[in-house]
């Protein structure tokens, strides 16, 4: 007890787990944040990229002479210029590095072949962005067309000129099988088997801020600075160092405010190299801001997977086995994300269910389209749609309530940890950490009013067909290998936290500050979090796979522990007490009635300590989504009357932020179900590279969405108990929504197997079903 002691003014009540307002907001709300395009420099040059307008072709000639004559144009760089420093660098593969993928890597600028519309062919640098765009129109680009393949079917059938990389002989990058148990035998003996084909459409994250970079070359010190970093700055530094022939200590990546990531932003793209190359070559700062049109063809696409899925069940609905074939359209190159999207789709096909016999064949195919990378819930969104649709179909065949069937098969607390096997070739075996999966389904069914509303399935009210759909999910987070942090108690008594995680706008400055504040017993206002930039720490890993709080937050805890040792030592001197008697608490260090506040102790500082958190395991959040729709059979329009997502995130550092992540993810997911679609023609032309034609959800589209966050089963894999909360909100959206639409339209004989569920497509399905149902005359 601290009786008789004046309570130190710095002491703070714990903030971890409370919905404190965000520290980022004051600047973002007043226009005083700093995004990369807000940066300016004396002598700044502006770069634009000349992109291929042809999906597949051989570059015959590039004539930039007229462009170079334009007033204000400083340089036009092509592959020939890049090659004068050595071979044109290739974009390295960071994730899912299947060896077969190496031959399909992308050069940072097209050398003699273009393979997708939007591939960089030249970089124009001028005194203004507008002049650089004027110059683009003056470059004469002569490309001989080659056969373009715009689908996996066309790609696999192609020969000769239709093979993107002639040396490989085929557009099939690789095919692999992942399995557990003995699916063949299970299928052979199963009383019930159903096979269906499904597909998810190509779409992407489309953050509100397009990508942007500002490269500065300090010739005097031989140092390169690249602003505009996000997601994985330390990996990108390594990639750039290798490509530019610089040492790691000769490059720094700097992070500003970031206008949304969702997986696509902050990867190492061709422009990351090109802008640095130009800045070094020209000795002047060079800025490149992606415009919205090029964003649609330059930034990673995702989600385009076709699936043939088979389920084997007992008559009581017990799922006996699952077998799937996934064909992933990767676009023209294998970029940094390697094969992770289809690999994760394969891994998450069985989902949160007690399935022991699994067989998954995955084919990874290149086509003449923009390359693919991760987008929030990569592979999970797709796999969940395939499986959850099939479960509803199987339940209908078996005459079961689909949600009784789900509950019957979900992994329970007693099954934990659940051996999830080795369904990813390049990863170790994994197991689901903790959880009671049926609990989230039960809660979700209560929220949507399943028992009271299930009679609505397929009924018509005021001309609209009603349906309710449910989907269950499990979602991984917290990828290793490590994260690092440093905490400094500054002499003014404030804490500075440096962390290797990156912000992509999700609020980690606040969440990390909450963790640090409580660890040292200081108020939130005393904590400042610096993140992302490579100048802060010797090593960092960044933000992806819902890892920033788990990995970065745990590293901060470790740094706090180490810092406390320093503080105790310093306080011991001041107080004349042995270290062993002192503890850091309530914003100070003390023992019994002897106490020194951190503010006072800080004047002896600054004190600083590093921390690290290493992890070879994963966290697994889980939950269920439910959706109630009303479908207009005349227009094909779908109203979302109610959508609810329930997720056990283990532990929420800031419930306000977690809730925001969930709601935002749901609406993004609904966009992926109904709106978002990157449409190509058979020649590989992207047909909707504008926000007028690529439809994103607006405020009027999906007003009725809710999220319930649970903290039932903390993860034992990290000291916070957190499981990651950035992606669970999107994973089951397509599954639940498509099940709802399918339930609504079941009386008409409509089957839902493909996304997106656009009004014209639903109308067509309804029309076709009605035509098929009419008796022949």
């Amino acid at each position: 007890m601290l009786t008789g002691i004046t309570f130190p003014t710095d002491a703070a009540t714990p903030v971890t787990g409370t919905p404190v307002e965000r520290l980022e907001d004051a600047r973002l709300l007043t226009g005083t944040g700093c995004f990369v395009d807000d940066l300016t420099r004396p002598d700044l040059l502006h770069a634009v990229v000349l992109r291929s307008s042809m999906a597949h072709g051989r570059i015959v000639a590039i004539d930039a002479s007229a462009a170079l004559e334009l007033d204000g144009v400083v340089a036009v760089f092509t592959a020939a210029d890049v090659a004068s420093d050595g071979a044109v660098p290739l974009i390295p593969i960071r994730l899912a590095p299947f060896p077969e993928s190496q031959a399909f890597r992308q050069p940072v600028i097209a050398v003699d072949t273009v393979r997708y519309v939007g591939e960089p062919v030249a970089l124009v640098v001028a005194t203004s962005r507008a002049i650089a765009e004027d110059a683009l129109e003056l470059i004469e680009l002569d490309i001989d067309a080659l056969e373009a393949v715009a689908s996996t079917d066309a790609a696999l059938a192609a020969e000769g000129d239709g093979v993107l990389f002639p040396g490989t002989g085929s557009n099939l990058v690789l095919r692999y099988t992942a399995q557990m148990g003995d699916a063949d035998t299970a299928f052979a003996n199963a009383p019930y088997v159903r096979t269906e084909r499904f597909s998810t459409q190509r779409h992407s994250a489309v953050p509100m801020e397009t990508r942007g970079l500002l490269a500065e070359w300090d010739a005097e010190h031989g140092h390169l600075f690249l602003s505009g970093a996000a997601k994985v700055p330390y990996f990108n530094r390594r990639a750039l160092a290798e490509a530019l022939g610089l040492g790691m200590d000769e490059i720094d990546l700097l992070e500003q405010d970031v206008g949304g990531g969702f997986g696509v932003r902050g990867e190492y793209y061709p422009e990351d190299f090109l802008v640095c190359f130009a800045a070094r070559r020209l000795g002047r700062p060079v800025k490149w801001i992606e415009d919205r049109r090029e964003h649609f063809m330059a930034t990673n696409h995702s989600r385009e997977i076709a699936c043939e899925l088979s389920i084997a069940c007992a008559r009581d609905g017990t799922i006996l086995a699952l077998a799937g074939r996934l064909d992933a359209d990767m676009g023209a190159y294998i970029r940094t994300n390697g094969g992770v999207v289809p690999a994760k789709a394969g891994q998450f096909l069985p989902g949160p269910y007690r399935i022991r016999d699994i067989h998954v064949d995955v084919s990874i195919v290149v086509t003449n389209k923009t390359p693919v990378g991760t987008y929030r819930g990569p592979g999970r969104f797709e796999a969940n749609f395939f499986r959850e649709r099939l479960i509803d179909m199987a339940a209908a065949d078996l005459g079961l309530d689909p949600n009784v069937m789900r509950a019957h098969n979900l992994i329970t607390a007693a099954d934990m940890p659940w051996d999830a096997g080795k369904l990813v070739p390049y990863e170790a075996e994994t197991s689901f950490d903790t959880g009671d999966y049926p609990v989230t389904l039960t809660r979700c069914l209560e929220e949507i009013g399943w028992e009271k509303n299930k009679h609505l399935q397929g009924t018509v009210i005021d001309g609209l067909y009603h349906g309710i759909g449910v989907a269950c999910f499990v979602e991984s987070g917290g990828a290793g290998p490590r994260e690092n942090a440093r905490i400094t108690l500054e002499t003014d008594g404030t804490l500075t936290v440096a962390v290797g995680s990156s912000s992509v706008g999700q609020g980690i400055e606040t969440a990390h500050a909450q963790i640090a504040a409580d660890a040292l017993g200081l108020p939130l206002g005393k904590v400042r979090v610096l993140h992302g930039s490579t100048t802060l720490l010797h090593e960092g890993f960044g933000t992806y796979h819902s890892r920033a709080v788990i990995m970065g937050g745990s590293a901060i805890l470790d740094a706090a522990t180490n810092l406390k040792e320093h503080l105790v030592a310093a306080a011991a001197k001041r107080l004349g007490l042995p270290n062993t008697r002192l503890v850091v608490e309530n914003g100070g260090v003390g023992s019994g009635d002897r106490f020194i506040s951190l503010a006072e102790l800080a004047t002896d500082g600054p004190f600083s300590a590093n921390g690290t958190f290493a992890n070879t395991t994963r966290t697994y959040s889980y939950g269920a989504h439910a959706c109630h729709v009303a479908v207009n059979p005349q227009t094909g329009a779908v109203k979302i009357l109610d959508f609810v997502a329930v997720e056990d995130v283990g532990r929420a550092i800031n419930p306000l932020i977690v809730h925001g992540q969930a709601i935002g993810a749901i609406v993004q997911g609904l966009g992926g179900v109904f709106l978002d679609h990157l449409v190509y023609d058979s020649e590989g032309q992207l047909l909707n590279a504008s926000l007028a034609d690529y439809l994103l959800p607006t405020a009027t589209d999906f007003p009725n969405v809710r999220a319930v966050t649970l903290e039932l089963h903390p993860s034992p894999t990290n000291p916070l108990g957190a499981k990651g909360a950035g992606e669970g909100g999107i994973v089951a959206v397509a599954g639940a929504t498509a099940n709802a639409v399918a339930a609504a339209l079941a009386p008409l004989g409509v089957t839902i197997t493909d996304l997106p569920l656009t009004p014209p497509r639903l109308w067509q399905l309804i029309s076709d079903a009605r035509a098929a149902a009419e008796p022949e005359h």
Binding site: G463, N632, S690, L695, T700, T758, P760, Q764
Partner: protein
């Protein structure tokens, strides 16, 4: 997506604007609110050498209602129509439709003249102009001329306006007080261009018979157009549910929808019929059809 190089000049009168167009010799464009033109320039789908800003010409901002006509100046904005109490009283169809035009910020700046000149087949104002017997008033080097909207708005993004001409106003015949009207459109999202939309009005005589029926379509054709077959199906009949159904069938028979990445021709055709049902039921004062629309 910076705009192409251009010269900018302000015109303080219509005649000055026309002079500037003449000087531009085919390479000058009128800039009104810019809500259609500037995106075209941003995508560099057009690169006029000169933009003639008519935004300062006060005469073009007027809404004039006489015993015979309702005239919207070229610079009348969507928000002006939306809020006009005079229009709500005398031609209520116009303000009612404005809620469907683009978004709040666009409606604060987009103009009648700009929309007509841009001539998007899915836009509302060209459809209203064609359906409601609008006359477009243009001024050019050879003076002022008037032309029925249907003769000016002849193709997608291709209004029949000479290089030295500008739109000055859109004039409608004044409505009878007993006129009945309806409007319905279907867009993917709030504010998007219509995939199909129907404008309809008719007068009803003492026996409840529909006279002077006007039915026009947007979005489901390559230009805004009236649908004479559908009009004939209603003309001289009492607009009950059965008659309206006949008119909707006629709409579907009559429209010739284009096909694009957003929808098939068959879908747009069906949709035009559904929208016709809604618009005509609204006009006839029948309860909304039981389809949730």
């Amino acid at each position: 997506m910076k705009l192409p190089p251009l010269q900018y000049v302000r015109a303080s009168s219509v005649s000055e604007a026309v002079d500037l167009l003449v000087q531009g010799a085919g390479d000058a464009r009128i800039l009104a609110g810019g809500q259609s033109l500037i995106p075209v320039l941003a995508f560099r789908l057009a690169a006029p050498a000169v933009l003639v800003d008519i935004g300062g010409i006060a005469d073009l901002k007027r809404i004039d209602i006489t015993d015979e006509t309702v005239t919207l100046g070229a610079l009348v904005r969507w928000v002006d129509i939306e809020r006009s109490t005079a229009l709500k009283a005398h031609m209520p169809l116009l303000p009612a439709v404005m809620a469907h035009v683009a978004h709040y910020q666009i409606r604060n700046r987009g103009t009648v003249g700009g929309s007509l000149a841009h001539c998007d087949p899915a836009a509302e104002m060209p459809g209203l102009a064609v359906t409601c017997d609008g006359t477009i008033i243009l001024e050019g080097a050879s003076g002022r001329r008037e032309a029925p909207a249907v003769e000016v708005l002849t193709g997608a993004l291709a209004a029949e306006i000479a290089e030295d001409e500008m739109i000055v106003a859109l004039r409608f015949p004044r409505w009878r007080p007993e006129r009945r009207w309806g409007f319905a459109e279907f867009a993917r999202r709030q504010g998007d261009f219509a995939m199909a939309g129907i404008v309809a009005h008719f007068d009803q005589d003492a026996d409840g018979v529909a006279r002077d029926v006007h039915i026009g379509v947007i979005g489901a054709t390559d230009r805004p157009t009236r649908l004479p077959g559908a009009e004939a199906a209603l003309e001289g009949r009492i607009p009950d549910a059965m008659t309206i159904r006949d008119a909707c069938r006629a709409v579907q028979d009559e429209v010739e929808p284009p096909e694009d990445i957003h929808a098939s021709a068959a879908y747009r055709r069906a949709l035009a019929g559904v929208m016709a049902n809604q618009a005509l039921r609204q006009a006839a004062g029948l309860p909304a059809a039981a389809n949730g629309q």
